[in-house]
Symmetry: C2
Subunit: 405 residues, 2 copies
Amino acid sequence: MKIAILGGDGFCGWPTSVHLSAQGHDIHIIDNLSRRWIDTELGVQSLTPMDSIQERCRIWKQVSGETIHFHLLDLSKEFERLKQWLATHKPDAIVHFAEQRAAPYSMKSDRHKVYTVNNNVNATHNLLAAVVESGIDAHIVHLGTMGVYGYSSVGAPIPEGYLDVEIDTPSGKKEQEILYPTRPGSVYHMTKSLDQILFQFYAQNDGLRITDLHQGIVWGTHTDQTARHEQLVNRFDYDGDYGTVLNRFLIQAAIDYPLTVHGSGGQTRAFIHIRDSVRCIELALSDAPKSGDRVKIFNQMTETHRVRDLAELVAKIAGARIAYLPNPRKEAAENDLIVQNDKFLALGLEPTTLAEGLLSEVVDVARKYAHRIDRSRVPAVSAWTKDLAARVEQDPEGTAIRSVS
Amino acid sequence: MKIAILGGDGFCGWPTSVHLSAQGHDIHIIDNLSRRWIDTELGVQSLTPMDSIQERCRIWKQVSGETIHFHLLDLSKEFERLKQWLATHKPDAIVHFAEQRAAPYSMKSDRHKVYTVNNNVNATHNLLAAVVESGIDAHIVHLGTMGVYGYSSVGAPIPEGYLDVEIDTPSGKKEQEILYPTRPGSVYHMTKSLDQILFQFYAQNDGLRITDLHQGIVWGTHTDQTARHEQLVNRFDYDGDYGTVLNRFLIQAAIDYPLTVHGSGGQTRAFIHIRDSVRCIELALSDAPKSGDRVKIFNQMTETHRVRDLAELVAKIAGARIAYLPNPRKEAAENDLIVQNDKFLALGLEPTTLAEGLLSEVVDVARKYAHRIDRSRVPAVSAWTKDLAARVEQDPEGTAIRSVS
């Protein structure tokens, strides 16, 4: 297949691009490189030294013999160029990762909120309107998030996108299937909830074929393909904005930094390894809906864990200590989370679990590049409200910042 | 109260501004005048001759002695100016009409879809982020639409925003109250569905006090205040994009144009007179939610009618004929619609119904200004898909265009 990977330079986009390229697909990355600009804005960098996208594509050609094309294009701003690109290249499928994807970044300030909404909503909507207008029949696979569900379970497993409910009517109870009610917990998660409504409309009005993947928190860094050459290494974010919880614990352990747990750590979250994430994209591409079908929704996760349990597990493996800090997020202190993921299992996904020794692989990556870590950027200091900001712990290590040895 | 009316130059915004000004409120209109630019783009104009907003404010001062302030500002693009304005003026309440509000315009072309999403989502989100950042405690009253519900009823009256459902859980049925599942039928309606999610998040995360009014189709033109001087007259759209169904029938009757019914006319819609609309805004302002409350949602409509029944009613009153045309919209040919509007009735709304002779008032307005009508702009030609566009009737009168006498 000819596949356009929107946001193919990012943390999920790059390993997906090389994974699908290795399988013989014709891969075209479209990216505005905004994630690299945000690195520059924040003054942080990937733990792993990351070459330019052009250089990565050159190395990939050397290693695999396969060509990955790169097109610099801003989805959210360049509607006409996007439309022309689609009409010219006529991809069979489009994988859409091209959104600002960090909840803490989306909550840093009013400017970041405005940027995230403007960028994400326009990127998704421009894509949908351009696909309709160009008349192509591409299957669109979108990376959503478990966070659209919110993290309050009603005591039943969260189904894959759609919920059966009963409604009282004058003629008795009536069954109805609805989109699972959305309750996002950050501006970033909110934009993914907005995306759901955009998809619903364009599937219904224009018969677009859309798959929405509600992904859990991704951990790990290597896939089989990114591991083939040092310069193909995936990005690895350890900072308080873009680093995600499990990877952050592993890196904190590697540099003898306290494992920073927010609140009681009673938050339960869904997880998936980056290897499974790219495999899920492959499976979703192989199982496209037909025109006229409703949006196909998968829960893209393999296990759930309570944050403090993860911290304790990592502390035990790596001999780290845990620091319980005030929570900068506005969220429930404790929540249960039970999630259905039957659809990917049925398609053949074999989950990579935490139990499989891969935790130490991440600790090894972290130790290898520990000299690149700015310890002052490890704490998560982006707060959900001004009141919460006043309580944020800026320096969990205390005033004595130790050097990385 | 000091009240900011965003979009105060528009069809609902202007009569609301003078209505609230007449009651002694300090009114500040904020508008980018986009609706006037769209008139220019489309080459159509309000049936009623409409002065500039500055001139209207001058006449209002003459007539009433009250001052209405006007500020030219684009909500969707000028976030910093908006924030400064709010911090300086500290309004007690903000009425938000400032969105592109025509479904057919939103579906005219890809450019119009992209404009509508970009404009409406950013306008609403910028407002919310700016209110949070400026730290004011203004009550936000937003004009939404009945169209967020979609027009498929499950056999029970559509409640005011929230729906009680039962969900199966391993420990038995569980009751839950959810936002009524959204199923918008156009890009315009879709943006109002997106707004709902924005409101839910900002009410929850930041304690913003928000009222969302799900309005039916507005008909009529005069209110007590706009009727006080010829130059205070409200705008009146008769064209296929901005004209709405009942007002269009009335104008078609006035100029001996066939009443254009789309499909079987089996669509049931909710209606409200412009007099009641401004009164509802007043009532909503008097009944603000507290910080921390969920979004307060009202159904702002007074009666429902099937489109063909309205056509027959107008045909009988005015001696017009009916033309059944292919439907340019993608929608159910027939639908039932039962809507709860108990909350406004409880606050004292006394509905102005079709039965009250006001239909002829609109016909009188139409006859008075009939010389300003371009008959070629009466048909609704904006189609929801390319397939539907091929079937649109461009000239319901036949090739012989008669002059307006």
